[in-house]
C-alpha cells in the first residue's frame, strides 16, 4: 500500500488557500461594518459655534475613528467565529490536523487584519473626499485633511498591528469558550472588573506599554511578540480539545 506523506506546513498552506476561497462571507461583514462606520462618521463628532453681530464661526470636527473601531469589532468577531464548532469542523472535511488548522487560521486572521487595516484607512480617505464635496462654503484645515504618505503608512501599519492583537485575543477567547462555556461569562467579567479598577497601575502600565510607543518598529516588535504569545496559548488550549466531535 502506498501512503501519501504530507508535511504539516504544506497542508496548512493548502488549508489557508481553501479558507481564503471559502470564507468570503466573513469579508462581507467587514464591508458592512465599514460602510456603517462611514455613514456614522458623516456626522461631525463635535461642533462649536460662536457668533457676534457681524460674524458667525462654526467649527465642525470629523473623525474617522469610528470606522476603525468598527473594523476592530469585526476582526474580534471574525476570530471568535473561526473557533466555533461549525468553522472548526470545516477544517477536518479534508486533510488536516490541529496544528495545520491553527496555522492556517492564524494565516487567515493576519490576512484579514491587513485587508481590514488597509480598507479602514482607505475609508478614512473616502470620508475626507465626501466631506470635501459636502462642505459648500467653508474652509478645510489642510494639515489634517491631506495626510502625508508617511503618516498614512504609519496609520495603516498601526491599524494592522492593533488588529493583530485584537484578532489573537479574540481567537484565544473563542477557543477557551469552546473548552468551557463558563469562560464566555468569566473572561468578560474579569476584563470589565479590571477596567473598573483602572487605577490599578499594572493595567495602566500594560496599556501604555503599547499605546505610548512612539517608534513604529518597536511597536511592531512588541505587537508581534504579544500576538505570538497569544497564539501559543491558543495552540496549548486546542491540544486539550478533541479534533472533531
Amino acid at each position: 500500500m502506498y501512503l501519501t506523506e504530507n508535511s504539516i506546513l504544506s497542508v496548512a498552506m493548502k488549508q489557508y488557500r481553501y479558507k481564503l476561497r471559502s470564507y468570503l462571507e466573513l469579508f462581507s461583514g467587514l464591508f458592512i461594518m465599514q460602510i456603517l462606520g462611514l455613514v456614522l462618521s458623516l456626522g461631525a463628532v463635535s461642533s462649536y459655534s460662536s457668533s457676534s453681530n457681524i460674524l458667525r464661526v462654526s467649527v465642525m470636527n470629523y473623525h474617522s475613528s469610528i470606522i476603525m473601531i468598527f473594523t476592530f469589532m469585526w476582526i474580534f468577531a471574525l476570530s471568535i467565529i473561526l473557533t466555533t464548532r461549525q468553522y472548526r469542523n470545516l477544517n477536518y472535511t479534508f486533510v488536516a490536523n490541529r496544528l495545520s488548522s491553527l496555522t492556517s487560521d492564524i494565516g487567515f486572521i493576519l490576512t484579514s487584519c491587513i485587508l481590514g487595516g488597509l480598507t479602514a484607512s482607505l475609508h478614512g480617505m473616502l470620508l475626507r473626499v465626501i466631506i470635501y464635496f459636502s462642505v459648500d462654503n467653508g474652509e478645510l484645515l489642510p494639515s489634517m485633511f491631506k495626510p502625508s504618505p508617511s503618516i498614512l503608512f504609519t496609520g495603516i501599519t498601526a491599524a494592522i498591528l492593533y488588529m493583530m492583537i485584537i484578532g489573537a485575543v479574540g481567537y484565544l477567547f473563542g477557543l477557551l469558550v469552546q473548552t468551557n462555556k463558563l469562560f464566555a461569562v468569566l473572561i468578560p467579567a474579569l476584563f470589565f472588573a479590571a477596567i473598573r479598577m483602572y487605577i490599578d497601575p499594572y493595567i495602566t502600565d500594560a496599556v501604555e506599554f503599547y499605546i505610548k510607543e512612539s517608534s513604529l518598529t518597536l511597536f511592531a516588535g512588541k505587537v508581534i511578540v504579544t500576538v505570538f504569545v497569544f497564539f501559543l496559548f491558543s495552540m496549548i488550549t486546542s491540544t486539550r480539545m478533541e479534533v472533531r466531535r
Partner: protein, 299 residues
C-alpha cells in the same frame, strides 16, 4: 498488514461509554461493513479511526500509526457522513477543486462524470442541496478521493433506492479497478451484504461478531417445530425465539449440529431454514430474545 487494528479500545463521553473494550483487525483492500443498531457506537468507532476523537483507554492503529491528530493518517483517509461540512460560499465545482488540492489520488474527471450522472448542478452550493443530494455528493467525494482508507458513516441517508443501488455499484466497480480499504457503516445489511467481504457487528459498543459475510450466512439456523421438541435447547444457545399459536415455535440457534442431530430433529418434525444475515444481525443485537413481541406478551 492490517490497515486498522484496535486493542481494547474504549471511548466514554462523560459517564456514557460509547465504545467498550473493542479489539479487531481489518485487513488491507477489503470492504468491511460496520453493522449495529442506532447508538451502538458505530459513529464513535469511525471517528476514533479517523483520528477525530482521543480514546479513553486502549489503542487504535491506522496504517500502524496512532491516528489521533496525525497528518499522515489524515492524508490517506477520508471520513464521509451526512453532516459533512462544506463552506456556504463554494459551489459544488469549487468543492471538487478543493478536494483535488488536498488529495493526491483525486480523480477529477471521474468525480465530474458521477456528478453529471446523478444530475447534480455543479454551480449550486452544497447548502442548497436536498438531503439525499447532499449524501450523493458526499459519497462522490468519498469515492473519487481514492484514499487508501475510506470511511463511510451511514452514507445513504436520504437517498432514494435507485441512487443507493447506483452508489453501491459505483463503489464496487471503482473498488475492483482500484482496490483499497473501505469501512461502510449501516444498519441496512440486506442492501450491502453482496458488496461486503467482512462484517463487523457491534452491540452496545462491544464486538458481537467479526467474520466474512459468507460465514455469516451459515452462522445460524432457524428451526420451526412444536414447542415440546424445541424446549430441549438451553436458552444460552438460542439467539432468537418466537412462538406461534399455542404449541408451535420458531427459534434461531447457532449452526453447530452434527449430521445425526440434524436428522433427529428432522425426524421429530422440525423444519429447518437458513436465516437471512440481516435478520441474524438484528437478533444478535436485540436487547431481548423475543424482540418487540415481548412488549405485547401478557404475563
Amino acid at each position: 498488514m492490517s490497515v486498522v487494528s484496535c486493542e481494547n479500545l474504549s471511548k466514554a463521553y462523560n459517564n456514557f461509554s460509547a465504545v467498550k473494550n473493542l479489539s479487531f483487525d481489518l485487513g488491507e483492500n477489503k470492504i468491511t461493513g460496520l453493522i449495529g443498531r442506532n447508538g451502538a457506537g458505530k459513529t464513535t468507532l469511525l471517528k476514533l479511526i479517523a483520528g477525530f476523537l482521543r480514546p479513553t483507554s486502549g489503542a487504535v492503529k491506522v496504517f500502524s500509526q496512532n491516528p489521533f491528530d496525525n497528518i499522515t493518517v489524515s492524508s490517506n483517509i477520508i471520513f464521509i457522513d451526512d453532516n459533512m461540512n462544506f463552506p456556504v460560499s463554494l459551489t459544488l465545482s469549487e468543492i471538487l477543486d478543493s478536494a483535488g488540492m488536498f488529495y493526491k489520488n483525486w480523480d477529477d474527471k471521474f468525480a465530474r462524470k458521477l456528478i453529471s450522472y446523478f444530475s447534480l448542478d455543479l454551480s449550486q452550493s452544497h447548502f442548497g442541496l436536498s438531503k439525499g443530494m447532499k449524501s450523493t455528493f458526499n459519497v462522490i467525494i468519498g469515492i473519487a478521493t481514492r484514499c487508501p482508507l475510506t470511511l463511510f458513516d451511514e452514507p445513504t441517508t436520504g437517498m432514494d433506492s435507485a441512487v443507493r443501488k447506483d452508489f453501491y455499484r459505483a463503489l464496487l466497480k471503482d473498488y475492483v479497478e482500484h482496490p483499497r480499504t473501505f469501512i461502510l457503516s449501516s444498519h441496512l445489511l440486506n442492501e450491502i451484504d453482496d458488496i461486503l467481504e467482512d462484517v463487523l457487528l457491534i452491540k452496545d459498543g462491544t464486538k458481537a461478531l467479526h467474520l466474512p459475510v459468507l460465514d455469516l450466512k451459515e452462522y445460524a439456523i432457524g428451526l420451526r417445530g412444536s414447542q415440546d421438541v424445541l424446549k430441549d435447547f438451553s436458552s444460552k444457545d438460542i439467539i432468537h425465539e418466537e412462538s406461534f399459536g399455542s404449541d408451535s415455535s420458531y427459534i434461531v440457534v447457532k449452526n453447530q449440529f452434527s449430521q445425526t442431530k440434524l436428522e433427529q430433529l428432522k425426524a421429530s418434525g422440525v423444519s429447518m431454514t437458513s436465516v437471512a444475515s440481516d435478520d441474524l444481525c438484528n437478533y444478535l443485537t436485540a436487547k431481548t430474545k423475543g424482540g418487540i413481541d415481548d412488549v405485547f406478551n401478557r404475563e
